[in-house]
Symmetry: C3
Subunit: 352 residues, 3 copies
């Protein structure tokens, strides 16, 4: 059960290794080498997954996973199981164990080419990469790691243990909570898109608000999050944003949402907690998307969505209606033939 630091391909843990690590009861063979982790639906034959809630037992029978962490009472003949008290907690434990063994490429200390304004406050031990710029008034809490070529604007503050990859721009007055991760090329706090048209010319409305990113948010690469006009654009705790997402000014996103790649959210829209916006979705401005709502990939939402509602298509409909609509659309050929046939038969009847 060695994990070398010299190589990105982690040495594999065996099923027995994992059972020992989580102090679980192994049901099945312990020899299989596990090389990855996944959710129960996507897990492959050499991967570890977990089942927390006994009501999803059918997923257990269907999973391809090589080994599954399950609650104490669960059985599933033919599957390799590790029974534990709290499967999700044990899963976290294994992932963290392996992560600890992953090679660490982070910068350490403050690189001599970094430009730290005299008015910036850095906690002891923070790491700042080469050529990164920290402006006056910025506050960087302990445990933060900021890679090379980043820009941290005036009066911007980072909570503990943030991880900022190369070439991220945090404009002035942006606030990050703790453990926020931002990937390369993302821009936080650019001006919102706001103009008033006077005699056919677009006059810029000042965008002097800010952006608040709460704890445990992760933001992908080349994302853009605009600052509010006067208030705050907010990304709620634990929300995960994929690459190339656009978030307009004054948008408020709740906690633990998933915003998948290339989605756009227009200004002043409010997204609830635990919302999922699938890839390339578009949400118009000034709407409310309720807690737990799900918007399908490439859907376009131009009206508010109730909590828990699942919508799809453009304009987005409840998912069942959308699927029925799509089915009809794909059968239009038949319907058109049927109408033409009916027309002929009516003509025959009319002649009689």
């Amino acid at each position: 059960m060695t994990v070398t630091k010299s190589n990105l391909t982690l040495q594999q843990l065996s099923v027995s290794d994992i059972a020992r690590l989580v102090k679980g009861e192994l049901i099945g063979e312990g020899g299989l080498l596990v090389s990855g982790f996944s959710g129960i639906k996507e897990a492959k034959q050499n991967e570890l997954t977990f089942l927390s809630n006994p009501k999803y037992e059918p997923l257990l029978r269907d999973t391809q996973a090589g080994v599954i962490l399950v609650p104490r009472q669960i059985s599933c003949p033919g599957k390799t199981l590790i029974r534990v008290d709290n499967p999700s907690l044990s899963f976290t434990q294994v992932v963290n164990y392996v992560l600890k063994g992953a090679p660490d490429y982070k910068p350490q200390g403050i690189h001599p080419t970094a430009v730290i304004a005299s008015g910036a406050k850095l906690a002891p031990g923070v790491a700042i990469g080469a050529h990164t710029i920290i402006e006056a008034g910025a506050v960087i809490a302990s445990g933060c790691v900021i890679y090379a070529n980043c820009y941290v604007g005036h009066d911007t503050d980072l909570g503990e243990n943030c991880l900022i990859y190369p070439q991220v721009v945090l404009r002035e007055k942006v606030s990050l909570g703790r453990r926020v991760i931002i990937h390369s090329g993302s821009v936080i706090g650019s001006d919102g898109y706001g103009y008033v048209t006077v005699d056919g010319k677009h006059m810029k409305i000042p965008q002097v608000g800010s952006v608040l990113i709460e704890d445990d948010v992760e933001i992908g690469a080349n994302v853009t999050i605009d600052r509010a006009r006067f208030d705050k654009t907010i990304i709620g705790e634990g929300t995960k944003i994929d690459n190339l997402v656009q978030i307009g000014h004054n948008v408020i996103i709740g906690k633990h949402c998933l915003i998948i790649a290339q989605t756009g959210i227009a200004g002043s829209t409010k997204i609830g907690d635990h919302v999922i916006l699938a890839a390339q979705a578009g949400i118009a401005g000034h709407l409310e998307i309720g807690d737990g709502a799900v918007v399908g990939a490439k859907s376009g939402v131009n009206h508010s969505i109730k909590p828990g509602e699942q919508v799809f298509g453009y304009p987005a409909q409840p998912i069942k209606d959308a699927f029925r609509t799509n089915a009809h659309i794909h059968r239009l050929d038949k319907y058109v033939e049927l109408i033409k046939d009916l027309k002929k038969r009516i003509e025959v009847l009319e002649k009689q």
Copy 2:
């Protein structure tokens, strides 16, 4: 009526303050504190807006705005008005007044870590941030501010008073007019996507043209504008481009257009003046979009559009047709039931 520079939240002006500033006649109470500006449709209770043209008076009755700048002759019982000779001019005056008071985070002077090639020409007083690179042959006119970590390529020139945020790339031979604003992460002058396929392999066609950005253009964050193959990609005066927009090689965009987030325009398409392309729209290559045309959000345009035409959907249709089509689509269920019912009734008639 003090506006401190130390805080991004502007101190509020009262309605009386504003009336005094624009030398207008106040109709209503002067005590309300105004904290923002908006168009007349979106303005909130503590915001200032304006009405220029008396023919839009119904908007005045419906607006939520706390105070409205109006032409001298206008009345609207129950609304707080400030009567002036030229409402849009007065509005501009107030916005500019407040902007002047906003905190100023811009770099000043030339940072010692900036790399300025000996062959670059900088007007006296321009500001260049830390680690920004200005290549030989670049010309930076007076009043320009270039933030940190930017790249200004060979023979690229910037007109007076341009504002370039951190980590913008202006490749070689790009031309900016006056007062151009470019937000972080945008790339101007990357190679156009041009290949000729020879025996199944894609051979690169040289992209040795350039990009011309005219006066008063604003470009959002992480936008990409490709250089022309041999000529110029052009963005016309006063056009405003939102985040994550893609503009292909040899595209020509007219004056005072609005190009909203995540829209893409393929190579060699010509966009007229005062055109609006809503978010996530796609315009195919080699088309002409007439002056004043409007393309709806997420629409896909694969044919040229006449001046003033409003289109929607994919493939895009005139907006009325598109709405009617959508209405039919959402009623397909009913139509299908109706057809089935008609079929049965015909069968009954046929048996008689």
Copy 3:
């Protein structure tokens, strides 16, 4: 036939110049000045193109090109032809000749402000621009040019003659083949978007795989390519990727594909060779797109596609079905009127 280096607008070659350069037989006038190159369908009156395969002769009659390189036996009255043994090879020769004459703005040598870790290996003669960072373990082969403000992570290696424009991020353990071109703002090797949801919170799955970019790939501006979870995200030889494209973790793209702007490919999908994904397309995860398949612009693909299949729409259908479906949709108005008419006629019949 002079091509000056001082100006991006290449001096034009005459048709005779080109005939002499490729040692071809000129049929027609030699005086026309040629100012560009294009494919046979798009070429303009002052451009050079070529026809390789005699079976496409009808294209020759229709082309606007000023002069066409053709196989020895070909005639086409009224067109200016240059007959050669291998037209595509000769075309390449002319393009390369002109490219050689284009002004060269590339950095030379290693800029003193570049930060090269002691553990990085650079072949003699590589060029590294100002403020670029090369981390320990990186390997840069001969002929590579890396512009200013780039980041090359630990253990990342570049094959011979790669060209990396300003502000590109190559995270750790990324591998580039030979002659790879990457445009500004692109991020290669950001973490894949992978979480397991435990009690409503999204727990990060480690993304410790890498990215492999094969020979002759070109990647546009502000593209994002995520590293694999444990294996490799792969971009096959000769594939050309346009601006603002998103490629998820563990995606495998084959050889000589064209991936047009703003397209997104979700995790673990496998794309064959010679595939074309038009602009703003979206491909769901865990699919297979067969060799030579074509996906239309803005299409959404949620099932695997067979080799050579052409699909369009969302959900994507075979292109013929999609066009027929679209035609029906645009005629819905007529169909609805017809149904209503039939209903009335049936009612008349029923009363009789």
